[in-house]
Symmetry: C2
Subunit: 120 residues, 2 copies
DNA sequence: TCCGTAAATCGATGAATGTCGATCCGCCGA
DNA sequence: TCGGCGGATCGACATTCATCGATTTACGGA
């Protein structure tokens, strides 16, 4: 668990006199910042237990699921669940479709692919 | 992109008279709720572009990285970066180690494994 | 012992978030 | 045409969050 590597190239080679920077700055390409913003937005939407369970249910039952099935899963008021679904929709994770009185939600394929790939 | 499945088993079989529930409730085991809480906590910690980039840098440079290398990567004050590192540490994603004046951070192996596995 | 430096902590502040009740909108059956 | 239902939206509220400047802590060099 606790690693103890000799010292990586970016770390200070040894003790230096104070007053000088301990190491050369790490460059971080701006291109990856956009990717980081996208993935962080997805992670943020998943960063709530209710929303993560909503996505889990939607993924488990591949296909569309009626909102009236999702609300009783949680000890929350209906507007609250609707709000969480909207957050997931705005993040591009789920989509919705109305059929008469009922509304159905489904996971958008590949919406989580980038984050999943980054996580390994 | 836009699926159009016939109708999954959990959806109402057909149009029903209003006043009756449109479908039987989906059961969601309480055991998975704990897992959802854990993964949501991880996702929440990653749900900020700065923190996600911090983890990315730490993962790219396998090993320990000095805080003094991380701060200039962002247009943020040093206490702000320190705060984000604390959030990641509290979430169990990274660990820290002091060596003299400097502090080194590293990614804790398998900290992201559960979320990564769930994402597929 | 004293000073300078790296990093963490504190306190404040403005913005975002989760939750709810009340209300509104669309669609259906009567 | 009307009433009822599912679901979305609105407004309010308390809480959390991201950020900063100022301060504190810990360590090393002189």
């Amino acid at each position: 668990m606790n690693v103890d590597p000799p010292s990586l190239e970016l770390a200070p080679k040894a003790k230096r006199p104070a007053g000088e920077p301990c190491c050369e700055p790490v460059v971080y390409p701006d291109i990856e910042r956009d990717q980081a913003r996208r993935m962080a937005a997805i992670a943020k939407a998943l960063g709530d237990p209710v929303r993560l369970q909503l996505v889990d249910v939607l993924r488990t039952h591949a296909g569309k699921v009626c909102v009236c099935e999702l609300v009783p899963l949680f000890d929350l008021a209906q507007p609250t669940v609707s709000h969480h679904l909207k957050v997931l929709r705005d993040a591009g994770i789920v989509g919705s479709e109305r059929q008469g009185l009922w509304a159905y939600y489904f996971v958008i394929p590949d919406a989580l692919a980038e984050l999943a790939g980054w996580l390994g």
